[in-house]
């Protein structure tokens, strides 16, 4: 057993000693005895100091001492030490679109993963694999979503907490092409939460996408998107814009082909309107008709913060629902801002891929300092109350409740 705050244990012991000393020296109520001439005794407070050489009220003394010792032990945060077996690893494996070959990532990760280690599979989201890490690694497939190292680091913290009790130290391994698109503004802060170094295992990145896709617009021939020339723009993935009702076939296409299905109705019912549209870092100021969008991850917003377009992932691609009314007349579709907003709407799932390797400074930041992370960083969480402390607190509370009852009886 170990104590996270042994000072409290010592303080409790000192308090118990003080209680024992006070038990012999405290002002206590003298025992009652008949005394016919009591009326001639000056009136004084009923409690008077008396020094008892023989201990009395041993049960009361025991209750008080035990209560103080329990409190001290509870605040000392005791914990049972489990046997530890050296260092363990948390292996983060990238399966995002930035990975060229999933097999490369699998093989690299398998070389580092040992029994008892934790596995984190990540793309845009991260998942901690508990039991059967090797099987999960063998079954790992590449997905079309962009990777997020920040999310993987957060999941690694969770995985570390799960195995820290069995290890002295933890090593963090990242198997990834380390593409630029996998870093975001939070990466540095999240990395700072890991107290040790991070081992980088780089795998081949997917080649940069070229204009190999096709953009099709299904709708009227007089559709403004089509007539303005936006429909002829080169794209890096297959994009299908549906200006009428989407069909089951459209959904199946989005799920199987890995393309982008944009359900963008040409006519927006109702009279609701907005004056500005925000897509990424592009702002389009114009009167728009608008409608509600189904649930999904927002990718475009109106000026009042409501979602204008959302994206939903399919197995290999994505479906986007846009409720943005584009006026048939006027020059809106010819504006540069609208063109950039349109490009964002037809961008590959997860945005445009950037699989270039991150800069050296970014990688150095990711590696961090030398040394393994001590497992105590997770097993001694300052906010969590150890179970033994809870029981000790309960015991102390029971003793403190019983103390006045026993005191009343002894008086």
């Amino acid at each position: 057993m170990s104590f996270a705050a042994p000072f409290f244990l010592a303080a409790g012991a000192l308090a118990a000693l003080a209680i024992v000393a006070l038990h012999f020296l405290a002002r206590q109520r003298p025992r009652a005895a008949p005394f016919p001439t009591a009326r001639f005794i000056p009136e004084r407070p009923a409690r008077a100091p008396s020094r008892a050489l023989q201990p009395t009220d041993l049960l009361l003394l025991l209750l008080r001492v035990m209560a103080v010792l329990f409190l001290g032990a509870a605040f000392a945060r005791p914990a049972w030490e489990r046997p530890r077996d050296g260092a363990r690893r948390v292996v983060m494996v990238d399966r995002s679109r930035a990975v060229a070959l999933a097999a490369d990532a699998r093989d690299s990760a398998a070389a580092w993963l040992r029994p008892g280690d934790a596995l984190v599979l990540f793309d845009s989201a991260a998942r901690v694999v508990g039991d059967g890490a090797a099987d999960s690694l063998r079954a790992m497939m590449r997905v079309a979503a962009a990777g997020s190292i920040s999310g993987a680091l957060v999941a690694a913290q969770q995985a570390a907490a799960g195995i820290a009790a069995h290890a002295d130290s933890l090593e963090l391994v990242l198997v990834s092409p380390l593409a630029r698109e996998e870093f975001d503004a939070a990466t540095r802060d999240v990395r700072g939460q890991w107290p040790g170094a991070l081992r980088l295992v780089r795998v081949a990145a997917a080649p940069a996408a070229r204009s190999a896709g096709a953009l099709t617009i299904r709708g009227e021939q007089s559709d403004a998107l089509r007539t303005s020339g936006l429909g002829a723009r080169p794209v890096t993935s297959n994009v299908r814009i549906v200006r009428d009702a989407a069909t089951a076939g459209d959904s199946a296409w989005a799920a199987d082909s890995g393309g982008v299905l944009v359900h963008w109705p040409a006519s927006i019912p109702g009279s609701d309107s907005a004056r500005a549209l925000v897509v990424g870092n592009v702002v389009v100021v114009a009167p728009f008709a608008r409608a509600a969008v189904p649930p999904g991850a927002p990718m475009a917003w109106w000026e009042d913060g409501r979602a204008a377009a959302v994206e939903r992932r399919t197995r290999t691609g994505c479906i986007r629902d846009a409720a943005i009314g584009v006026p048939a007349a006027g020059d809106l579709v010819l504006r540069e801002s609208f063109r950039r907003a349109f490009e964002a709407m037809i961008a590959p799932c997860g945005g445009a891929a950037d699989t270039r390797v991150a800069s050296d400074s970014t990688l150095a930041m990711l590696r961090g300092g030398a040394g393994l992370a001590p497992a105590r960083a997770w097993t001694r969480n300052g906010d969590a109350v150890p179970p033994l402390s809870r029981w000790l607190l309960v015991g102390a509370a029971v003793l403190l409740v019983a103390e006045p009852l026993v005191r009343r009886r002894s008086e």
């Binding site: 003298p30 025992r31 009652a32 005895a33 008949p34 016919p36 005794i41 004084r44 008396s50």
Partner: protein, 288 residues
């Protein structure tokens, strides 16, 4: 309390002790106390010239024959003095608990006083107020009075706080009353009633029974509780002991002064004083 048959050594120790009256008595029955009457006893006192109307039986005929002068021969009479012993049987007399209590000591002194009075030929009786009724023995000179008194006392256990003042009016014919008490009950009313009896010609002897433990309380701290008034609780500790002793001494001194000012005798008896000594002191304390 002492058993009725345990007074033998005490009675032996008191043999020959007299308890004379404080002043001449009115009684006419022949006794040991100086009587207010002048009579025909052999104890010559003085001659007085005979005057017309005097009892011719008092004439000293021999003197008349020798000197031809008529003188009366005056002698002092002796009378008996009815004595009542009033014993306080309140709960405070049961202190200290166990043997040697104030009640036990008072019983011995009471029996001793009755024995002394009885030996002088005085009618002696006993009055003990209890919460239920006032137990008493009328003053008698017959044999067995001492044993009856001892038996009566052995049947009584101190309890409650029966007032003593009403009992003082019992047996008004008795002209000497000895009050054995700790005077912690109706002390004022008792003093008032005693004063009335004294004015009426009676003698009153106040015997203040004090426990040694009341004079020198134990060093251990206790929450002193008045047995007759349990709500009265005071801490008898190191810091209050001196104050208590001072207060208690002042009260005893005041009590003695007031009884004596009222014309009564006052004797303080400590429980560790042998009863025969106390009885001798009570008897000797009287001004003859």
């Amino acid at each position: 309390m002492p058993a009725a048959n345990s007074y033998g050594p005490l009675l032996d120790a008191l043999r020959g002790v007299s308890w004379p009256a404080r002043r001449v008595v009115r009684g006419s029955a022949m006794g040991t106390h100086r009587s207010r009457l002048r009579g025909v006893s052999p104890e010559f006192t003085e001659y007085r010239p005979y005057r017309q109307g005097d009892d011719p039986r008092t004439l000293d005929w021999k003197l008349l024959a020798r000197t031809d002068r008529a003188f009366r021969r005056i002698t002092a009479d002796r009378a008996t003095l009815g004595t009542i012993v009033l014993v306080d049987a309140s709960l405070s007399m049961r202190f200290p608990p166990g043997p040697g209590s104030k009640w036990e000591h008072a019983c011995r002194i009471a029996v001793g006083l009755i024995a002394v009075a009885h030996a002088a030929g005085d009618p002696a009786g006993l009055v003990v107020p209890t919460p239920d009724a006032t137990r008493n023995l009328a003053p008698r000179t017959r044999r067995g009075v001492i044993a009856e008194s001892a038996r009566l006392l052995s049947e009584i256990a101190p309890e409650g706080s029966a007032p003593l003042a009403p009992a003082l009016s019992h047996f008004r014919r008795a002209t000497r009353v000895a009050v054995l008490s700790d005077f912690l009950g109706d002390a004022e009313a008792l003093l008032h009633a005693a004063h009335e009896r004294i004015v009426g010609g009676a003698e009153v002897e106040a015997v203040h029974v004090v426990a040694r433990e009341e004079l020198d309380p134990p060093e251990t701290s206790v929450m002193a509780t008045d047995p007759e008034a349990p709500e009265l609780r005071r801490a008898l500790v190191e810091s209050t002991r001196a104050g208590y002793q001072s207060e208690f001494a002042a009260w005893r001194a005041s009590l003695a002064r007031r009884w004596r000012d009222a014309g009564a005798g006052y004797t303080e008896v400590i429980t560790d004083e042998p009863a025969e000594h106390a009885v001798r002191r009570i008897a000797r304390d009287v001004m003859v």
